[in-house]
């Protein structure tokens, strides 16, 4: 009897495994159908690589950075983890932005409350800037500007305003800070002014709908321009105009794309605002072309309505509306059916290749798709969780 019991116990013991040392997550290399080339064959304005920032689901600590190497034609998943094995608890929780400035790479890690600063070529960590609840980063004259959901503690804890932090890129120290509207998101700098979209995203249904204008000289909010409800993206075009997306209000107001003109007339004059009926979630301006995709949920069909489009930003806007039917999709081979949730877009400024990421269900690996200018899919590759933000590296 005892023997039978013991043997019964031994069966699972032989099948199961023991705990071993926990090994840091390795990088994975995948070869892409891209011709490998000598570094010297790249033009100065031709990207030699692209970093892709995977956000990772909140609480999972799975923000990662991947690298698309145009020289070797490889895709490297989790390059940050491989290059920085000694960073405690890896890159962090929920990546929100990635940008290049000078010889450095800056990744904004929202729920780790920091901006990670890395060497552009090696992806090795140089340092970090602690910014609470940071969202997006832009640069201007050796200063980094970072938007943050939380400014100084207010008397009413339910009405906490956001802030823009200014950081010296040489010392990685915060130099100045200015309070703006509720939950500021993206921003751009034109001339001496910074324009930031106040979303008020946590104040549903009382969203914010303004663009704060910050004077960089004395770092002061000088004006608030009402633009559209729940604004998110802010992009400047070559004509110093701003394209702003509205995320809309759930069920009630559709997301839309808004154009702001005449900013060059100075802050004393009201800019001209043109509203379109385009639903844009993310966009990229390439020359005079605006590539965008828009997705919104339809309660009728219980599915996501997704549009992909490209239009000329100089073409007129009749009746303050772009006729949507005139906008062409930049995907022409029908493969958009395979994209579940488009979550990031970038255009190769040298050859016009379009990169689109698919976040799938947010809690599994995403995909990066490359399309030619003609809208034909060239290749696809598996990424980390929630691939979202991309930036290029040059020689």
């Amino acid at each position: 009897m005892l023997i039978s019991l013991c043997s019964l116990l031994l069966i699972p013991c032989s099948l199961t495994s023991c705990r071993s040392d926990e090994i840091i997550f390795p990088a994975e290399y995948e070869v892409l159908p891209i011709e490998s080339r000598e570094l010297t064959s790249f033009a100065p304005n031709e990207p030699i690589g692209m970093y892709l920032h995977n956000e990772g689901n909140m609480g999972s600590n799975k923000a990662t950075i991947d690298y698309l190497d145009f020289c070797n034609g490889t895709y490297i998943r989790n390059i940050y983890g491989e290059r920085n094995p000694n960073v405690i608890k890896e890159l962090g929780d929920v990546g929100n932005d990635i940008q290049v400035y000078g010889h450095r790479l800056y990744a904004v890690i929202n729920c780790s409350h920091k901006v990670e600063v890395m060497d552009l070529r090696t992806c090795r960590r140089i340092g970090q800037i602690d910014i609470p609840n940071c969202r997006y980063i832009r640069f201007h004259q050796d200063k980094a500007y970072i938007s943050s959901y939380v400014g100084p503690v207010s008397i009413d804890p339910n009405a906490q305003l956001g802030a823009i932090f200014e950081v010296d890129t040489a010392t990685l120290r915060i130099t100045r800070q200015v309070t703006v509207g509720y939950q500021p998101e993206e921003f751009e700098i034109i001339g001496n002014y910074l324009y930031v979209a106040n979303s008020g995203g946590y104040r549903t249904p009382d969203y914010d709908s303004t663009l704060s204008v910050v004077d960089l000289t004395d770092f002061r909010q000088v004006k608030k321009i009402p633009v559209c409800v729940n604004p998110h993206r802010v992009r400047k075009d070559p004509y110093n105009r701003l394209w702003i997306t509205s995320r809309g209000v759930h069920k009630d107001v559709q997301p839309q794309l808004v154009l702001i003109k005449n900013l060059e007339l100075g802050i004393k004059n009201d800019p001209e605002i043109q509203y379109s009926k385009i639903t844009s979630s993310e966009m990229v301006i390439f020359g005079d072309s605006m590539y965008f995709y828009g997705s919104h949920w339809s309660d009728e069909t219980m599915s996501n309505q997704i549009t992909y489009g490209v239009f000329n930003i100089q073409s007129p806007i009749p009746n303050n509306q772009y006729p949507i039917s005139n906008i062409q999709s930049f995907i022409t081979d029908g493969t958009e059916q395979n994209i579940k949730i488009p979550y990031g877009i970038q255009v190769n400024p040298y050859n016009g290749d379009i990169y689109i990421t698919d976040a799938k269900n947010y809690v599994s690996s995403g995909q990066l798709h490359c399309y030619s200018r003609e809208g034909k899919r060239k290749w696809s590759v598996r990424t980390g969780d929630i691939p979202a933000h991309m930036c290029f590296v040059y020689r």
């Binding site: 608890k89 962090g92 809690v363």
Partner: protein, 706 residues
């Protein structure tokens, strides 16, 4: 007093009737001559034996002495020793602990407190870490449903059921009061005093009161260590868990009246109040979290049951529960959030059973429940359950039970407060259409021969998991058109019991249970990404197939010279495969947090005589490798964890040392001291990714019983 004697007498009769073969808990049968111990042991012995008689498929049970020896803090800690169960544990005394049986999901689990289900209409999850073992006498786990047909309709509804039964007061001859005072203290500044008082109001009526305070600062060191593929240390850091403190108070009172051989009523009050920190995930650059949670759970429940005309059994239960939750996010790096929720539940059930012949019973039950959620959002739900069941017992060879349950759900809701105010909507919520579902169940047990106690069991059961208020109405995310999720269970198994003797000592026993099961969960409610940003919605999209084997074995030795030794082991092998959509990258992968292999082993060794006993308990829990997200890839891999726990105890009865003093001291005072070491080898592990568990920790318990 006559009542008590008759109970003991009945007990002895039962023992004789069921013979040693049926020893439900042989641990209890071993006490040699200790007078008091024998009283209690025999009582418990029969209770389990009687329950067992009704059960077609024997449940996994932890009761009385075994539970006491485990010395676990909460129900969740004890349930880990059952097979087929997965626990989600966020760590520490205050960390949420939920149970999932056979991979079907927490929401398919019914948890019953003295026969009445504990509810959480908001998210459908019961935090078993909140339920103290202090006043619990028995925990039973049934796969499928309790296979006794005399039950409320709602009890036929869950896919798996946990029954928590509180201690029933028992008085020694001529004694009118029982008192037990206990103090527990240990790591994480744990202080856990409790007091228990039983008062005999009359020969048939008793009052029992129990109060407990739990306080812990929740601070424990945890360690994250990683090595590079070449074996060098990449990082190795130890920190202290913050914001995991808890202060909780629990007060219970019950009046029992056993007015006849068949009838009794019971009224019970339960109140739990706590404040705790939510320690949160440990991620890069974040070692502290600012979330706080207040819980207040109160309920009053009443039961009456009797047998009329010798054939007709009636039971009526009623309950009112009031649960208040307040949540605050105080983290200065995050947006301030404060939410309050109030849930109320009214429940009534009436269950009848009629014995048509000695071998044939039929039953019918009707339940009505009203749930309301208010403050954060307004939602109401009326649920009616109607059940019919029959049980057949053919000469103890074949037992069969068939039941059918009709569930009728009607919801009404309003959006959350702020939206309602914004829309200036003060109308009463609109009722939605009645949702009607029928679910059958069939249980079989066959005993091929009376010579050995070998039973072959099988069951098939369907059950629905209804969408919770959060699934339906949570801001932006809820989907009022959700269908309930369907679970189909198929199970075949066997159970075998063999008593034996060691050196003429009776009571040794070997028991073995083995089950194979196949479950299929369709229309599984999953969060589905919705267009922009992090908006989600709930959809009936998932399909999961689960195959598993559960094996339990127990070997109990009654050794000469008053020693005993018990060894228990359980093992589960499970595959739970997501087969929702072949285009998903995780199609065919094991679902998150379900290990392929898991098991536990318990060894208990002890010695006892008339006035003292000593014991040593060792337990081992193993949870094998698993993945923390849907895709089974290296980035989601989670290592196995296994902990060793050790506990020693001694118990002494004062003034009972010799026969003479025993005759003098009618009601001796007993003292019990227990020392526990948990996670003996100080393993650093996460049950849930980024929620580190405590390293080695200690606990000391002193209790005095009169």
């Amino acid at each position: 007093m006559r009542r008590f004697v008759s109970i003991v007498f009945f007990t002895l009769l039962c023992v004789a009737a069921f013979s040693q073969n049926n020893a439900a808990d042989s641990l209890l049968a071993l006490s040699p001559d200790s007078l008091i111990a024998r009283y209690i042991d025999l009582e418990e012995y029969t209770i389990t034996a009687r329950v067992k008689e009704k059960d077609i498929i024997i449940p996994q049970t932890l009761s009385g002495v075994q539970l006491k020896k485990m010395n676990a803090l909460s129900v969740a800690d004890a349930i880990r020793y059952f097979s087929g169960v997965q626990i989600k544990d966020y760590g520490g005394v205050g960390g949420i602990k939920t149970v999932n049986i056979r991979s079907m999901g927490t929401n398919h689990m019914g948890v019953y407190y003295n026969g009445i289900q504990l509810g959480n209409a908001q998210n459908g999850q019961i935090d078993l870490g909140k339920y103290s073992l202090e006043n619990i006498e028995e925990i039973q786990l049934y796969n499928g449903q309790k296979s006794d047909i005399w039950q409320s309709a709602r009890e036929f509804g869950a896919a798996g059921s946990i029954y928590l039964t509180t201690r029933r007061p028992r008085f020694a001859e001529g004694k009118n009061v029982n008192v037990k005072a206990q103090m527990r203290a240990g790591s994480f500044a744990l202080i856990d005093p409790s007091l228990l008082l039983d008062v005999k109001l009359s020969e048939t009526m008793s009052l029992t009161m129990n109060a407990e305070l739990i306080s812990s600062n929740g601070k424990y060191p945890f360690r994250y260590r990683r090595v590079t593929p070449s074996g060098e240390v990449a990082y190795d850091t130890t920190a202290i868990r913050q914001n995991g403190d808890i202060n909780a108070i629990r007060v219970e009172a019950a009046v029992n009246h056993y007015y006849s051989n068949t009838g009794f009523w019971k009224l019970q009050l339960y109140h739990y109040n706590s404040e705790r920190g939510v320690p949160g995930a440990i991620v890069n650059n974040v070692w502290r979290n600012g979330e706080r949670l207040w819980d207040r759970n109160s309920f009053v429940q009443a039961t009456w049951q009797d047998e009329l005309f010798n054939r007709w059994s009636v039971r009526i239960n009623a309950k009112y529960a009031n649960d208040y939750t307040r949540y605050i996010n105080n983290d200065d790096k995050l947006i301030h959030v404060e939410n309050q929720y109030l849930q109320q539940e009214l429940y009534f059930t009436m269950a009848h059973k009629v014995r048509i012949f000695d071998w044939w019973d039929v039953s019918a039950a009707y339940d009505l429940q009203y749930n309301a959620l208010s403050m954060y959002a307004e939602a109401h739900r009326f649920t009616h359950w109607l059940s019919a069941a029959t049980a057949i017992n053919i000469k103890n060879y074949l037992r069969l039970q068939a039941s059918v349950l009709g569930t009728f759900v009607q919801d009404a809701s309003q959006s959350n407060n702020s939206e309602r105010e914004a829309l200036n909507n003060t109308e009463q919520p609109a009722m939605q259409a009645l949702n009607t579902k029928l679910t059958p169940a069939l249980f079989l047990s066959y005993r091929p021969t009376q010579l050995v106690d070998l039973r072959l069991n099988a069951f098939y059961k369907q059950s629905y998991r209804y969408p919770t208020f959060n699934d339906l109405y949570y801001t932006d995310m809820g989907n009022a058109y959700l269908k309930p999720e369907l679970a189909k269970q198929h199970n075949v198994g066997l159970s075998f019991t063999q008593p034996f003797r060691i050196a003429e000592q009776k009571g040794s026993e070997f028991r073995l249970n083995a089950d194979y099961y196949y479950n299929r969960i369709s229309d599984k409610i999953i969060a589905y990404p919705k267009g922009q940003q992090f908006r989600w919605t709930m959809l009936n999209l998932g399909l999961v197939k689960i195959n598993g084997i559960d094996i339990n074995a127990q070997l109990h030795f009654v050794l000469p010279k008053d020693f005993y030794l018990t060894a228990k082991a359980q093992y589960t092998y499970q595959t739970a495969i997501d087969v929702t959509d072949p285009n998903d990258s995780y199609y065919g992968d094991q679902i998150p947090y379900i290990p392929w292999h898991s098991g536990s082993a318990v060894g208990m060794f002890g010695w006892q005589n008339d006035w003292q006993q000593y014991g040593l308990n060792y337990s081992f829990i193993y949870v094998g490798e698993r993945y923390n997200q849907q895709e089974n890839i290296i980035y989601n891999y989670t290592q196995p964890w296994y902990t060793h726990d050790l506990s020693v105890f001694g118990e002494w009865q004062f003034g009972a040392k010799s026969k003479e003093s025993r005759a003098k001291t009618k009601y001796p005072i007993s003292l019990r001291v227990a020392l526990d070491v948990n996670n003996l080898l100080s393993q650093d592990y996460d049950v849930i990714l980024n929620y580190p568990m405590p390293k080695r920790n200690y606990k000391c318990t002193i209790s005095i019983t009169y």
